[in-house]
Symmetry: C2
Subunit: 106 residues, 2 copies
């Protein structure tokens, strides 16, 4: 059990903190895609998506693989995929919880 540095963890988690990045992650969750496919899927601008991809890569969440003039991006590993799945599971729980307690998320 390695000791995880707090700053590293924060940087890692930062990857999940923007709508576009979450969309990208979900969009490539099951199979890698080229930048242009991602741009089309989530209807963003090329430059913007490219920047978010760089961010996700920097956070350690995705990897890019060049093939000719295309670059394919996919999740870095299986554990990241499991984490994405877990977000949904946990959120369902939270939502049920919140609904039954009459509290609100904001």
């Amino acid at each position: 059990m390695l000791k995880i540095d707090l700053d590293t963890k924060v940087k890692f988690l930062h990857g999940f903190s923007h709508k576009t990045r979450v969309e990208i992650l979900e969009c490539i969750k099951d199979n890698e895609k080229t930048v242009s496919q991602i741009v089309e899927d989530i209807q963003g601008s090329q430059s913007n998506i490219s920047q978010h991809l760089a961010c996700l890569k920097g956070c350690g969440l995705i990897v890019g693989r060049q093939e000719g003039k295309y670059v394919y991006y996919g999740l870095r590993n299986q554990k990241i995929r499991e984490l994405l799945t877990m977000f949904d599971v946990v959120l369902e729980d939270v939502e049920k919880d919140v609904a039954c307690c009459e509290n609100h998320l904001d």
Copy 2:
């Protein structure tokens, strides 16, 4: 299997996107604490911590329970705790991966 709304998910994930908030979560991971205990543990200002606690509550990650003049904050449920644990597991994986590939996190 409920369908999780993207905006709800993004809001939820936003809770993890700041160093102080991650510190708070880790600090109350095993048992709930009062605001002043948290302030002391992570060496922040009362006002600042209070604002981050409000944020975490809004994101659905923690719950507060008043007892006399104290307010105890703890993780909302067990699943959130598992998620925090999973972050460490995934990060270890990523770090090993990154180390062996000679890429960097930034």
